[in-house]
């Protein structure tokens, strides 16, 4: 293998409480320490040897990244995924040299540019022209480079006639286009991109994705951080999964995305509760929740055309109540897609025992994407919630683009909270070209 484009060895980054990296004592802390913490000083002394500083401050120290090592070959397009707080942003900031690591070493071979935001440094009072120069310089282009690409940038942003207008008069769409246009014409060997695509409307996102695809196809090394698994899968060939500051998985993008969705040890599509922590009261307790496919197997990824089963198992300890199971479905944007309960089958009042309820969401109803499900059990009259476990399971709805989903042969961006297959009826009303108002 060639020399890697990026080699990361034992990288670690620790923060003190209050976002102070460890190792540097600040004046404030020293002052505060002198007044308020003779106790801690004492504990520090009593604690252990000289290396015990970390332990003594253990409660105040947080490792955002720890023992992270990986290599990225030139030309790889790598998706970095992980839940919030997994250390993705910290890793990006260290790679972009915005903040130094606490331990470890990174070697980068080639010119690197990072894009943690579009339009960094844009000033509303300045004109489009001035902002292109400003933003270009901020992103690390020199004057000659900016001048040679100026016309391309302007054409890409489609703002020719507003070049000498202050950008505060731009529409938000124009502003975003201009901001992205400058960034899109960066010409590094290695490009680091944060969730730039999380902004803007669908058209804009599509344009960004398209441009990113071009960059990636151009043989450049790209690091792409995103929550959007579809974009990651589409753009990247490799993936790195971060979990609690460590590399949890590394390899082909499919493996890593699957790992991410299944959360390593316990599947996000299935969850058990230990008796001690089981949600519930003295009437009923939740034991298990899972997402199942039509053949009854636990499944993380479900075909958009097939039904999705949400199953919950619970124990009824005190009998005699009418128990209504219900599910609360949220999409990745946090929108409640629906809430549904099984009141029709809640009678007669349940006796003590172990129960299993399944709700079947029909195929061709949900759109593509990640869904989280909260499960609950309640009595409706009077209203008593026996247990409610929000975000207990999650699953992914995928469209394999076979042409018989709601998409039909269309493979582009497809917005919408739900994606039903509707009955369409088109009849020829008249042979003439008459159009009714």
């Amino acid at each position: 293998m060639d020399t890697p484009a990026i080699r990361v060895c034992d990288l670690g980054k620790s923060y003190r409480l209050g976002a102070q990296p460890a190792g540097y004592r600040t004046l404030r802390e020293s002052l505060a320490g002198a007044f308020s913490a003779p106790l801690r000083r004492f504990r520090e002394l009593a604690g252990s040897d000289g290396t015990g500083g970390e332990e003594a401050a253990g409660t105040k120290e947080f490792w955002a990244l720890r023992d992270v090592s990986f290599e990225i070959a030139p030309g790889d397009v790598v998706g970095i995924v992980g839940r919030n707080g997994a250390g993705k942003s910290t890793l990006l900031k260290i790679l972009s040299q915005i903040t130094p690591p606490t331990t470890g070493r990174i070697e980068i071979a080639g010119r690197i540019a990072s894009l943690l935001e579009v339009g960094t440094g844009f000033h509303p009072e300045l004109t489009g022209r001035e902002n292109i120069h400003l933003n270009g310089a901020i992103l690390g282009m020199n004057r000659r480079e900016i001048r040679s690409k100026f016309d391309q940038i302007v054409a890409f942003a489609e703002v020719e006639q507003f070049l000498d207008t202050p950008v505060k008069r731009y529409s938000s769409g124009m502003y975003m286009r201009l901001a992205f246009a400058v960034a899109a014409h960066l010409d590094p060997e290695i490009l680091i991109i944060d969730e730039v695509l999380a902004v803007g409307d669908a058209t804009f996102q599509k344009k960004c994705l398209g441009r990113l695809g071009e960059v990636a196809a151009g043989g450049r090394t790209v690091l792409f951080v995103s929550h959007n698994m579809q974009a990651v899968t589409r753009l990247c060939n490799r993936g790195i999964l971060l979990s609690r500051g460590r590399v949890a998985a590394e390899g082909s993008v499919e493996t890593v995305v699957r790992h991410y969705l299944t959360d390593g040890n316990h599947s996000a599509a299935e969850r058990h509760w230990e008796p001690a922590e089981a949600p519930g009261n003295d009437v009923a307790r939740l034991l298990r929740a899972r997402v199942i496919n039509p053949s009854g197997q636990t499944s993380q990824t479900l075909d958009i055309r097939r039904p999705v089963g949400i199953e919950m198992e619970y124990e009824v300890c005190t009998g005699g109540q009418v128990l209504v199971p219900n599910i609360h479905l949220y999409n990745a944007d946090g929108i409640c897609v629906f809430i549904n309960n099984g009141w029709q089958h809640a009678r007669p009042p349940r006796g003590p025992g172990r129960y299993r309820s399944v709700a079947w969401i029909p195929g061709n109803l949900l759109s593509e994407g990640t869904f989280t499900v909260g499960v609950a059990l309640s009595t409706l009259d009077p209203i008593i919630v026996h247990f409610f476990a929000p975000e207990s399971v999650a699953f992914e709805v995928v469209d394999s683009l076979d042409g018989d989903s709601a998409r039909g042969p269309y493979a582009g961006v497809f917005p919408g909270v739900v994606r039903p297959v509707l009955e369409w009826d088109t009849t020829r009303e008249s042979a003439r070209e008459a159009v009714s108002a």
């Binding site: 606490t102 400003l134 901020i138």
Partner: protein, 270 residues
């Protein structure tokens, strides 16, 4: 090959990197100046009007009523002018530089560049204001009978000294403001006090002879009095000037050290 490693607490200034980012420095300074002068009339008026009003007030209260005018060699208004111009440069520059890091936190937390660029660029508009005010001052100097002196070539040298002093204090304060937000208020207070311990409104001779060495530990003492002597063709107080130059170098070292100490974790604390 770029190598990223943990950094030592005390770090020397990376001058080559700063030089590589000179275009960014220029364009950030240009941004500040351009935004400031966008409404041209107001921008220029600010640069000229502020020292002018200050001059009038000082002339009236210190010169006439306070009787300082009698202790000064020559025209008190010229004396004030030669003191207020560099003082204004210092005060505006320090004020802007001190806030610059906090004001540009979105840049600092999103893009890599030598952080020193930010407070340095913030001096740009203070320097431009200074230049504008100087241009306006020239006709007045001529009118009040200040002709060409051989010593006037030293004016830019002392002016540069004032810029260095501004940089030293501004850079140091910008780091302190980023770390302890209270320093925002300290800045204004500091500048107020600083003006009174600098020979802006009164001559060096007001300070007893034995204390002048101590007094000159404030670098502005030597710089302002030197600039004034050079401009008005008066005799130089070389002793205090020398002390001030040494103090200036020390101050620059301290200011840069303060900044370098905080620089690497600016992105984490702003």
């Amino acid at each position: 090959m770029v190598v990223i490693e943990p950094r030592r607490a005390w770090q020397l200034v990376d001058w080559p990197a700063l030089w590589r980012y000179r275009e960014l420095l220029a364009i950030l300074a240009y941004r500040d100046i351009s935004v400031r002068y966008k409404q041209t009339v107001l921008g220029a008026a600010w640069a000229v009007g502020q020292p002018l009003l200050q001059l009038a007030a000082f002339w009236l209260f210190f010169g006439r009523m306070g009787g300082l005018a009698d202790k000064v060699e020559g025209d008190y208004s010229l004396f004030l002018l030669a003191g207020l111009l560099p003082w204004q440069l210092f005060a505006t520059g320090v004020g802007q530089a001190a806030q610059s890091v906090v004001q540009n936190q979105n840049l600092i937390s999103k893009v890599y560049f030598p952080r020193l660029v930010v407070p340095m660029a913030a001096l740009g508009s203070a320097v431009v204001d200074f230049a504008v005010a100087c241009l306006v001052a020239v006709p007045w100097l001529l009118w009040r009978g200040v002709g060409w002196h051989a010593s006037q070539w030293l004016v830019p040298v002392f002016g540069l000294g004032v810029i260095v002093a501004t940089l030293a204090v501004g850079v140091g304060l910008s780091a302190l403001v980023a770390e302890f937000r209270d320093f925002r208020y300290v800045t204004n207070f500091l500048l107020q006090i600083w003006m009174f311990v600098s020979p802006v409104a009164y001559p060096l001779s007001v300070v007893p002879g034995g204390w002048q060495w101590v007094y000159a530990l404030n670098p502005l003492v030597g710089l302002i009095s030197g600039l004034r002597s050079a401009l008005l063709g008066q005799s130089f107080a070389w002793g205090p000037i020398l002390v001030s130059v040494v103090a200036l170098l020390v101050l620059l070292g301290v200011g840069l050290a303060c900044f370098q100490r905080v620089e690497q974790r600016l992105a984490d604390i702003v």
